[in-house]
């Protein structure tokens, strides 16, 4: 009968004996190590793994009996079989050793066949005992897993039972049944969570679309009175900055200070706050809110064009087709028969494209700047305050100031509403991403466009011509193709110019 190879420790104080036993054990196909004393034996057993010990009884220092007592008294070692080596005249010693827990004995002048049989039997006992211990350990793990399930954690990957389930015996079957049932409950639980998250996400998107979509209509309503865009932006950014500062104070997330950070805020505030808002309020008097809502969604296309030009994005046929749809959307808006007519209308629609273009530049900039690890709300506050700070001297020096007496009495409500909607929508977008994940939240752009169109119909009596419907269809198709593929893992936080960038799909990615 052949036995699987084992690892044997030979313990003898006399070197020729150690060498003889080591060579004899290796001749049987096993691995053998040797030590010269009882102390070394215990140290080796505690630091390495052995399947059996061949132990001389009579040794100076710690003798074989003491070593045996130590091995059998140590729960970590007591299952290692010990074969004591004695001479024929020391039978009493061999008997005493067996009484102390030795598994068998061998005379010093042993026969190789007897050595094979006894070492083989010892290793087999060890193998069976190891199997038994492993079985008991697996039973314990299965019992522990039931405790985890009792704690309402049904995730099969966290139960750690895969190796037990791979067993072919009844324990394996029990583990498979247990895993199967836990997995089923886990899947149901996950589905339920997804449904709840979807419902919650759907509500958040509707709210987001309704809030942000209101801005183009509100802008058009106030700008038709012929207000100076500089003065309007001064007030809306001023209110936005105040709201965000209060939010930062309440949540304890104040922006960082220091020149590099302030410079960053100023650049982003200019690109994501001052310039797009100036253009937005500038065009709002001339372009229907519905078309503004649609054109603002072109941010994704512009980001893609810029990324392709800068070499940040590899050319991709699918996204180029998406871009073509985006261009078709703009052309359809500009075509005679749509709401804008004449060269002047063309100019204002093309000018509207500057708003998403500024947001796109801001996005590219944010993506290329190293992450400063700052909190989103703190960053947003910093950017909005910086934008408001830029507007202050610009408005005064250009003589465009709308003084508080006029601003607050006639337009205070709309200014505050636009600022509040911007701030609230921005915080809402962050909350939506955190609640539903980046994939779901990336639908925000559609919700905002839809909201913008809806409000323009409700508040301004604008109507959807066939051209606008076609443009909208091109927009949606183009966005589907051009937007980067989102993954569930990409639940990154948004660093946006808080309240300044209504159509924020790229930021969500």
């Amino acid at each position: 009968m052949t036995h699987p190879p084992g690892r044997v420790l030979v313990v003898d104080d006399h070197q020729p004996n150690r060498l003889k036993l080591t060579l004899a054990v290796r001749n049987l196909g096993h691995e053998a190590e040797s030590v010269a004393s009882g102390e070394e034996c215990l140290a080796a057993l505690r630091s390495q793994s052995f399947d059996m010990v061949l132990l001389d009884i009579i040794m100076p220092g710690m003798d074989g009996f003491q070593v045996l007592e130590a091995i059998k008294g140590d729960p970590a070692l007591r299952d290692i079989p010990v074969l004591v080596i004695s001479s024929l005249e020391e039978m009493a010693d061999a008997v005493r050793a067996i009484e102390l827990g030795a598994d068998d004995f061998l005379t010093k002048s042993f026969n190789p066949v007897l050595l094979r049989a006894r070492v083989g039997a010892g290793l087999e006992r060890k193998r069976l005992r190891d199997q038994e211990l492993e079985y008991l350990r697996q039973v314990d793990r299965l019992a522990a897993a039931s405790g985890i399930v009792e704690g309402k954690d049904f995730d099969p990957s966290r139960l750690g039972l895969d190796d037990i389930a791979a067993r072919g015996d009844r324990l394996g079957n029990l583990a498979r049944v247990f895993l199967g049932m836990a997995g089923e409950v886990y899947r149901r639980e996950q589905n339920l969570r997804k449904q709840i998250s979807l419902l919650k996400g759907g509500f958040l998107l509707l709210l987001l679309g309704a809030c942000w979509g209101l801005i183009p209509s509100l802008s058009r309503m106030i700008m038709r009175d012929g207000l100076n865009p500089l003065g309007v932006v001064f007030w809306t950014l001023g209110f936005s900055a105040t709201i965000m500062l209060v939010l930062s104070l309440v949540t304890g997330r104040m922006p960082k200070t220091g020149w590099p950070t302030i410079r960053r805020y100023l650049i982003l505030g200019l690109l994501g706050g001052v310039l797009p808002q100036l253009v937005l309020f500038g065009v709002a008097a001339h372009v229907p809110a519905m078309i503004i809502a649609i054109v603002l969604a072109a941010e994704s296309f512009i980001v893609f064009i810029m990324a392709a030009i800068l070499g940040l994005e590899a050319p991709n046929l699918k996204r180029f087709i998406g871009l073509s749809f985006g261009l078709a959307c703009v052309v359809l808006i500009l075509l005679p028969g749509s709401d804008g007519t004449g060269a002047s209308a063309w100019f204002w629609v093309v000018a509207t494209l500057a708003v998403p273009a500024f947001y796109a530049i801001e996005n590219i900039l944010i993506a290329s700047l190293p992450d400063d690890g700052a909190d989103t709300i703190a960053t947003t506050t910093g950017i909005v305050v910086a934008a408001a700070a830029i507007m202050m001297p610009v408005t005064f020096l250009s003589g465009s100031m709308i003084y508080p007496s006029e601003a607050l009495s006639q337009y205070g409500g709309p200014f505050l509403l636009i600022a509040s909607l911007s701030a609230f929508s921005n915080v809402l977008l962050i909350f939506t991403i955190r609640t539903t994940g980046a994939v779901f939240a990336s639908q925000a752009g559609y919700a905002m466009t839809a909201g913008g169109i809806l409000w323009s119909v409700i508040l301004l009596n604008e109507h959807m011509s066939l051209w606008i419907w076609a443009a909208l269809a091109c927009l949606v198709s183009g966005l589907v193709l051009v937007m980067p593929k989102q993954t569930e893992e990409a639940q990154t936080e948004v660093v946006s110019a808080g309240g300044l960038a209504p159509w924020a799909e790229e930021r969500v990615s």
Partner: protein, 121 residues
């Protein structure tokens, strides 16, 4: 020296047994013999010292070790002498151990010479 007496000093058949135990590897056998011959003088010195000093336990331990080793390498008479000394030591006695130790030293020398000759031959 008559053959029987020579065999008592060194029995070559013992090496055949040893060779079988270690799997027939002659190089390993040579290594084992070399190891015995290196360890032997030190062990014999321990026996002699213990015998002269009346150290029964030291005598028992050293004689026990040499007894089985000598048997392995065919040094029968040396093994017998060591058994006697071990028995003395076990009883806590050392009387007569010095004479036995002297005889054992001579026996070891004879066995070692024969062992070397056998391996060289």
């Amino acid at each position: 020296m008559p053959q029987a007496e020579a065999n008592e000093a060194f029995d070559p058949k013992a090496l055949d047994n040893l060779l079988e135990v270690i799997g027939g590897d002659r190089e390993a056998l040579a290594e084992l013999v070399e190891c015995f011959l290196q360890e032997g003088p030190g062990l014999m010195a321990r026996i002699e010292t213990a015998a002269r000093a009346g150290d029964a336990d030291g005598l028992r331990l050293a004689a026990h070790t040499m007894k089985s080793s000598a048997a392995d390498f065919g040094a029968r008479s040396l093994s017998h002498l060591c058994r006697e000394m071990e028995a003395l030591g076990r009883e806590g006695r050392t009387d007569g151990a010095a004479a036995l130790s002297e005889a054992a030293a001579a026996s070891y020398q004879a066995a070692a010479a024969a062992l070397r000759g056998h391996m060289d031959g």
